[in-house]
């Protein structure tokens, strides 16, 4: 029924998205990009595509990081425009989408400050999609005092909620008679990557709940299935990456960390939770997820994480496999009608496109031979639909 009313509020925003679909690079254009031999050539090629305007002001020999920044800026501009057109539920929904990028930005800032990187450099590397005015204030962070950081800065930001929950959980998980010193130590040992994963997990759960409760029926169906997959993807990633990780030496520790990082939503949770938390080898992980969807098939080709040292550029890693699967699902979701999943899918697919371009730029700037397997490692959005 909500399909009848969808266009009343969100028709225009959706129409814009459908129009932007034409901006995706197609396979022929990817082939042309692969045949470029230098960065200026790549740039002049991109200037003939939809990315024309965002690159014109730059030098031909554009640095890869700047290229990424420009492409992201364009995506952010498009997204800003859509957000400006959105009303009611949709605008809240779009805001939720942004939180993911904000988390990334905040963690990147923290990481950068810890490594004593200049604030200007950090600010210029911010993903424009997740920009918010308070982000500069992160500079007041002293040492590893995340609690203070939260109190001084993040409390006013949209992602403050997640950060608070994260702090609560990390302190709760400590042993009973903890002292201030213990907490300090805990923060000191904490890796930014860990913070990122936990924050994202919380965001995902929150977003999932939001989608389930507030969205119209069609949008809910579309999004829930996408988010479930994303949660599963995260779970599998966490387990996979923790297999053979030397920092997590005891079984108990592995289990608690995994438990903390794995989202409590998705198709794997809670049925397979016990199995996957205990999985110590790739085979065990495969066994744990075999009952759900086609995950077993996906994991079939993944290389063994225990032989991580042998990986090189050409290895098709788990991430590649998963991104491929993700892309397929998003492309399908994009073709759905009257659903907010379109916006989500668009954002994800555009991100993939930017990843592709940056990857190709990287390959080109390293002057790798054209028969190098790395050239094949791009996932072209919408290419799955044609097969």
């Amino acid at each position: 029924m909500d399909l009848c009313y969808f266009a009343v509020d969100d028709g225009y925003a959706e129409a814009i998205i459908r129009g932007l679909r034409a901006g995706f690079l197609n396979e022929a254009q990817y082939t042309q990009m692969k045949s470029c031999t230098s960065i200026p050539e790549l740039k002049s090629f991109l200037e003939e595509t939809d990315y024309q305007n965002c690159l014109q002001a730059d030098q031909p020999q554009i640095a890869t990081s700047l290229l990424r920044q420009r492409l992201k800026k364009k995506l952010a501009d498009e997204f800003d425009y859509i957000e400006a057109q959105a009303t009611g539920t949709l605008s809240k929904f779009l805001f939720h989408l942004r939180c993911r990028f904000m988390i990334d930005n905040v963690v990147n800032m923290i990481e950068g400050l810890k490594n004593k990187i200049d604030i200007e450099v950090l600010l210029s590397n911010i993903d424009p999609l997740g920009w918010f005015p308070e982000i500069k204030n992160i500079k007041v962070l002293e040492g590893d005092d995340y609690a203070n950081l939260y109190r001084d800065v993040l409390i006013d930001t949209p992602i403050g909620v997640y950060f608070m929950k994260f702090l609560d959980e990390s302190i709760e998980n400590m042993h009973e008679n903890r002292t201030m010193n213990d907490i300090q130590n805990l923060f000191k040992e904490m890796k930014p990557e860990y913070i990122r994963t936990s924050l994202k997990k919380m965001w995902l759960e929150d977003f999932f709940r939001y989608s389930e409760e507030n969205l119209p029926q069609t949008s809910k169906e579309g999004l829930v299935s996408l988010l479930k997959f994303e949660a599963d993807f995260r779970t599998i990633q966490v387990i996979y990456n923790s297999i053979g990780n030397r920092d997590l030496n005891t079984v108990a520790r592995i289990q608690t960390t995994r438990k903390q990082l794995c989202p409590t939503i998705g198709t794997l949770y809670p049925d397979c939770e016990r199995q996957y938390l205990a999985a110590a080898q790739l085979e065990a992980l495969r066994e744990a997820v075999k009952g759900t969807e086609n995950y077993r098939d996906l994991l079939k080709d993944a290389p063994d994480p225990l032989k991580r040292e042998e990986f090189n550029v050409s290895t098709r890693t788990l991430d590649d496999i998963m991104y491929d699967e993700e892309c397929r699902r998003y492309a399908l979701a994009f073709d759905g009608q009257g659903s907010y999943a379109v916006f989500y899918a668009y954002l994800k697919l555009k991100e993939q496109e930017i990843r592709n371009i940056v990857w190709l730029a990287e390959m080109i700037s390293r002057r790798l031979a054209k028969n190098h397997p790395g050239w094949k490692k791009i996932i072209i959005p919408f290419s799955h639909l044609r097969k």
């Binding site: 204030n137 500079k139 007041v140 002293e142 001084d152 800065v153 006013d156």
Partner: protein, 813 residues
């Protein structure tokens, strides 16, 4: 102009070392087109030269902008040929010299501009600091200077200070801080301070107003005075606030400690400002002295700019050549009338530089279709554009735009027929072409004048930019001026025939309605013209007759084209048969109309209707209900038989011919493979292979289209009547509703009020909207009804390799 110019195909083998020289001279011939042989190659050999030229152009535009800012505008160049002759002597290394010059100037200007920017910033900071100082003094009160300490102060000693909020321990030490921040960031900053100090803070702020117009583009700034509890500079809050200030780029202002110091600081700021102003004006003079040689010196900026335009075009065309180790192979089309110029040009090169190895021109036969080129001038340019928009004529095809020069305004006139409206259009067109006020050259000159004025007055405003934009839209009308003159003239002429003047009937010669032996000398008798029944029937018939003649013209063009292409089947079978069929159907109708016009019927009811005559003729095999002339029935029977016979001939003869040719071609092709490759050129053309089925379908469709088209196209010409009717009715409705009442009752004041309204509506609706509509319909009649009879329109433009043209385009003339 009737047919496109004859082209010859040449191959040039240009030795690498003389390539620049040769291309340089070829570009000034204005009569050849170089075929692009590297179309799909992204890595063209001279790309780097083109990017260099682009770079220089960019820099020149920037310099031009700087020149504009100081009111120095270079003189526009009118004579490009002269310029070209000067350039001819320069070698390709001249570009390097110019590049060095431009880069040098550009860098110099950039440095100075940067310096000015820095100084402006410094000045702004000084002004702001001064203001912030005054602001802080106002807030802190005079007592502040009595206290001994500078950075810390005890608030207890300042009774007149504003009361602070509760929870504050009086003895606690306070730190204060004065700074300047971007106004839009103030709120984020204040909130961050709130969090860091846990609410224990006071902050006063004031927006700094910008007095100086030079800094008005910089965003608003705000100064603030912040108090917060802090024991020492080492405390955590202090450190955090300091960090925060760094990220927000807060300019910290140190307050003077005593009254003396205050005065001293104040004076210092004043002096600094004056000094910086002096420096700025000095630097501006310096910029002027750097830029002036570009206007008055040698070479001038326009000279350089045009040279680069030329150079860029040259390299673009060099890119089109096929590159081989020691020679460049160029394939080119040249107007056959200009062939001798190539030789002449080579001789000239030889004179200039006897040591150079000259290229070898060789005329070749080629299967490629040559490009289409017409000699254009200001007058026929527009009509050619109308045709080209539909399709560029095929090589050596009859150019329909020649006919449309007259037929187009005529059809427009038939639809727009009104003496007054026509005369208005005509006079507007004449005004445009006589005053030349909106010609690109005049506009350019005026813009230049404006810019000079603007620059010397140093006034930057947006109104001038608007002005320029407005001119560009009038420029479009300027291009249409000859069209307006012709259309207006024909509309006035047709208006005379219709006897319409603002939809009123002019009784110039005295009506003949109730007199015997009297014929109204020109146009329709005013008493008749008022009668809608009469004018409808008259205009309807007129449209059919006009349609018949225009389409017959189209068919004749088909015949001429077939003759020109030596297409015998088309010339001797298709063309006459089509003409015969068309004349027997629509032509016969036109003849009946003439007969009816010339017959006098005593009783109007006895006059046969043209439509029913035509319908009866085709439905009942020549049956005649009311006879128009003797033997009508017999003649009509013949007409039907002959016309019906035409259709199969039209269909089968060319079809069988093509089928035969197709089967023969296949045999030839098989043989052709065995023929040695020597005679063939390196290029291949694809021979379109059609299956026999395709040919049959193609001819079937063509025949059906023609037969049905005869009727539907003729019906389409009825739009002439419909639009003319709509035009005159609209005009008369406006007149009746707005003016006639007051005129009839002779109310002068009412007339005075109503007349402007009438004028505006006439101008807006009739002269703008209706003229546009009539234009579009005339366009359609030409594109579809007329051109479909003969016009193929699948040629391609001759893209002349001409420096003059490129320079003209870039200078917008």
């Amino acid at each position: 102009m009737f047919r496109s110019e004859v082209m010859s195909f040449y191959q040039l083998l240009i030795p690498r070392e003389s390539s620049y020289m040769v291309m340089n001279h070829l570009g000034s011939l204005d009569s050849l087109m170089i075929i692009d042989q590297n179309k799909d190659n992204l890595n063209r050999p001279f790309n780097y030269c083109i990017t260099r030229c682009d770079d220089m152009m960019c820099k020149i535009e920037k310099l031009n902008k700087c020149l504009q800012d100081i009111g120095l505008i270079p003189e526009h160049i009118d004579d490009f040929k002269l310029l070209e002759q000067q350039y001819e002597l320069k070698s390709h290394t001249y570009l390097n010299d110019l590049e060095a010059l431009i880069n040098h100037k550009h860098q110099q200007i950039l440095d100075q501009v940067q310096k000015i920017e820095q100084m402006k910033q410094k000045r702004q900071f000084t002004i702001e600091s001064k203001k912030a100082m005054i602001f802080a003094r106002k807030q802190l009160g005079g007592a502040y200077f009595l206290s001994k300490s500078s950075s810390d102060l005890n608030l207890d000693e300042q009774p007149e200070n504003k009361p602070l909020h509760g929870g504050m321990i009086p003895s606690q030490k306070f730190t204060h801080f004065v700074g300047i921040i971007n106004a839009q960031e103030y709120h984020v900053f204040a909130r961050a301070i709130f969090r860091i100090t846990k609410g224990n803070f006071m902050m006063y702020n004031e927006l700094l107003d910008q007095e100086n117009e030079l800094v008005k583009f910089i965003s608003n700034r705000m100064c603030f005075l912040l108090f917060f509890p802090s024991q020492s500079v080492q405390s955590e809050t202090f450190r955090k606030i300091k960090k925060l200030c760094e990220t927000f780029k807060v300019d910290h202002v140190r307050l003077p400690i005593s009254e003396d110091q205050w005065d001293q600081r104040y004076n210092q700021y004043e002096n600094d400002t004056i000094e910086i102003e002096k420096l700025i004006s000095f630097t501006q003079d310096l910029i002027k002295s750097i830029l002036t040689p570009l206007i008055s010196g040698e070479p001038t900026i326009q000279y350089i700019r045009n040279f680069i335009i030329k150079e860029k075009l040259l390299y673009e065309n060099l890119n089109k050549l096929k590159i081989q180790p020691s020679v460049f192979i160029g394939l080119l089309w040249i107007k056959s009338s200009k062939i001798d110029q190539i030789e002449k040009c080579f001789r000239k090169i030889k004179e200039i530089n006897p040591n150079l190895v000259l290229p070898q021109p060789r005329q070749l036969k080629t299967p490629r279709t040559p490009p289409t080129s017409f000699a254009l001038n200001q007058f026929n340019k527009l009509f050619q554009l109308i045709t080209d928009t539909y399709g560029v004529p095929r090589y050596r095809e009859i150019n329909p735009s020649i006919f449309s020069i007259i037929t187009f305004p005529f059809l427009f006139g038939v639809m727009f027929g009104d003496i007054a409206h026509g005369l208005l259009l005509l006079s507007f067109g004449l005004y445009l072409s006589i005053t030349k006020k909106f010609s690109p050259r005049t506009i350019q000159k005026e813009t230049r004048k404006q810019l000079i004025q603007q620059g010397t007055m140093k006034v930057t405003g947006n109104e001038d930019i608007d002005n320029i934009n407005k001119n560009s839209s009038l420029q479009l009308l300027y291009d249409l001026r000859y069209m307006l003159i012709l259309c207006g003239g024909f509309a006035a002429y047709c208006g005379l025939i219709y006897n319409d003047f603002f939809a009123l009937q002019l009784d110039i010669f005295g009506t003949c309605l109730f007199q015997t032996d009297c014929v109204y000398p020109f146009g329709i008798d005013p008493m008749f013209a008022e009668n809608l029944n009469f004018s409808n029937s008259y205009k309807m018939k007129l449209s059919i007759i006009i349609g018949y003649f225009q389409m017959t013209l189209g068919l004749l063009c088909l015949g001429l084209n077939s003759y020109n292409q030596r297409n015998l089947i088309s010339l001797f079978i298709v063309f006459p048969v089509k003409l015969c069929f068309f004349s027997l159907t629509i032509g016969y109708m036109a003849i009946i109309i003439f007969i009816k016009w010339n017959t006098k019927f005593m009783d109007p009811g006895a006059a046969p209707s043209i439509i029913s005559t035509m319908v009866d003729m085709w439905m009942h095999d020549g049956y005649v209900d009311m006879q128009l002339y003797s033997n009508q029935s017999q003649i009509q029977e013949y007409v039907i038989i002959i016309a019906s016979l035409c259709i199969p001939i039209m269909l089968f003869v060319p079809m069988f011919h093509d089928l035969y040719k197709n089967s023969k071609q296949q045999i030839v092709e098989d043989e052709f493979v065995q023929v040695s490759q020597e005679d063939r050129e390196e290029e291949h053309i694809q021979v379109e292979k059609e299956s026999n089925g395709d040919i049959v379908v193609h001819h079937l469709i063509e025949t059906i289209e023609f037969v049905l088209g005869c009727i539907s196209n003729t019906a389409s010409y009825l739009r002439l009547w419909a639009l003319s009717l709509a035009h005159s009715q609209l005009a008369s409705v406006f007149f009746d509703l707005i003016l006639s009442g007051s005129i009839n009752e002779a109310q002068a004041p009412w007339q005075i009020i109503m007349f402007p309204l009438f004028l505006i509506i006439t101008l807006g609706v009739l002269l703008c909207m209706d003229a546009m509509e009539c234009f579009l319909h005339a366009l359609r009649l030409h594109w579809v009804e007329f051109q479909s009879k003969f016009f193929k329109g699948d040629g391609y433009q001759f893209e002349v390799f001409s420096f003059t043209q490129a320079m003209q385009l870039q200078n917008k003339i």
